[in-house]
Amino acid sequence: MGATGANRGQPAIMDAKTRWGRFRRSEAASGLLLISPTALYALLMLAVPLAAILLYSVLTDGYLTVEWTPTLANYAEAWGDPLYRQVMLRSLFVSATVTLVTVLLAYPVAYYVSFHVSPSRKSLWLFLITIPFWTSYLIRVFLWKVILGFNGVVNSSLMTLGIIDEPLTFILYNVNAVVITLAHAYAPFAILPIFVALEKIDRSLLEASQDLGESRLLTFWRVTLPLSMPGVVAAVLIVFIPTIGDYVTPQLVGGPEGRMISNAIQLQYLRLDNYPLGSALAVSAMAIVTAVSLVFLFLNRRFLRVRQQ
């Protein structure tokens, strides 16, 4: 009797064992195991810190310390103070302008490389386009200061040529300078996604459209442009999101009236030691970026669906 009972128990144990063994050897388990170091790193170094600034943003700032009293005062200040509101709006405006300029200027370049360059030379062109992006960002931004400065390259050249008598002052230490510099810095970011989207377009579609009687311009308008929209949308987001948080450019070429949100955040953290307010500003900036991006994605959902077909 006892023996049969034991025997009856055996298959259940075996079953559990092999099921565990199967899971361990299964694709899901191997995949999870393999990704876990990287995922864990992102969890510790990204998720936890993001949670931490979320927490800090609702704490009270004390002198040299942070008090554990929950409050919304930081957000009230970040959103209520006209100074911060102005900085925030300016950041949005600058980012939006930079994005618009960059993507509009980038589209023809991507179009040229995708449609008019022979396949074997495409990667050379892309390489040429990406090289400037990899060279010292700090020095590139600083060079714009040199170019646009009071006695910089533009002014000294124009004066030598006798086109102007006085140096132009509207090109440095203001929003214009920030827009020019950022548009330059983020150019490859805009070109690459548009290029990839254009590459994916089946060329016979364009021939079909012309075969059906559309002119080349209308073919572009009715076929090429809509099909490349996923790339344009990606380009917009890839330019918009980081530019709003750029620190170096406004600091170097923006002057007092070109300051953006990251300069304010840096000020709170490193100068004024007000972590809670700095965190509230950072969280607000992220929230705005996310909200704008989501609205943008929503408005373009029609184009993105095409890609999934």
């Binding site: 990704i35 990287t38 931490a52 010292s136 987001l237 980081p242 965190s279």
Partner: protein
């Protein structure tokens, strides 16, 4: 067709000139014999390069940056290998969100990464040092490593690994004998790209470096002093030349990897 192509071509070349304009100025002023960065030029000199050799603070910063960049490139490439392997070979629950989250630093403003890490590191009482910069740099370099290694793993035919196992090798020896040699070009270009990014990164280093500045942080501190600018130009010239060299090497290895596994060239680094 032809005329339209040339119009686009002219525009694209103008655009490239716009892209390269600032970089072209760099060597011009680096060799210009004047303390003022402006036209007209005042003659040729190599003084500014020689001056670089006499600044100990600069040498410390360079050394710091090199240590950080080398550590970052190795760590992020290792993490990249794990993640790229998992994402190209395996299906597992939550794959999309997990990988999306790991790639998030690509679209996150760097200042957010910097301040949030700062808050946590100070919060748990870790002193700022080269190591804290490395932590931040690994975070932002890993997505780039993953992107590069993904394409290396994708162009690797799965049946090559199965064949090795079928011929009696274990999983580990298969990785050593087959997978690793075949993705080697990808690994090298991942190392080079991470190295370049880390060497150049400013904001995270600015926030997380302690008393020992990295090279970009050092440059930043010098930009305030007009007399230091020509030597910064010289330094910039060296850096740009260095990055372009590294990039060309990285591109060479990436292409060789694709050629070797017989695949198609799928584009650039991003």
């Amino acid at each position: 067709m032809r005329s339209k192509g040339t119009g686009f071509r002219a525009y694209t070349i103008a655009y490239l000139i716009f892209l390269y304009a600032p970089i072209v100025l760099l060597p011009i002023f680096a060799f210009n014999n004047s303390t003022i960065i402006a036209f007209p030029l005042a003659g040729f000199t190599t003084n500014w390069f020689r001056e670089l050799a006499t600044i100990p603070a600069l040498h410390h910063a360079v050394w710091n940056s090199l240590v950080i960049a080398v550590s970052t490139s190795i760590l992020s490439t290792c993490l990249g290998v794990f993640a790229a392997r998992a994402s190209t070979r395996y299906d597992f629950p939550g794959k999309g969100p997990i990988i999306g989250f790991i790639m998030l630093p690509l679209v996150l403003p760097e200042i957010i990464v910097a301040v949030s890490l700062l808050v946590v590191l100070l919060g748990i009482g870790i002193e700022l040092s080269a190591w804290t910069v490395i932590l931040g740099h690994v975070l932002i370099c890993t997505p780039f490593s993953i992107a590069i290694l993904n394409s290396a793993f994708q162009s690797l035919d799965k049946s090559l690994e199965e064949a090795a196992i079928d011929l009696g090798e274990t999983r580990w020896s298969t990785f050593r004998l087959i997978t690793f040699p075949l993705i080697m070009p990808g690994i090298i270009s991942s190392l080079l790209i991470s190295f370049t990014i880390s060497l150049d990164e400013f904001i995270i280093a600015f926030f997380l470096t302690g008393t020992q500045p990295t090279l970009p942080v050092y440059i930043w501190s010098q930009l305030r002093f007009p007399t230091k600018l020509p030597s910064i130009m010289a330094l910039g010239t060296i850096l740009v030349a260095l990055s372009i060299t590294l990039l060309i090497i990285a591109e060479y290895f990436r292409r060789r990897g694709i050629a070797r596994s017989g695949g198609q060239d799928a584009g650039g680094f991003l």
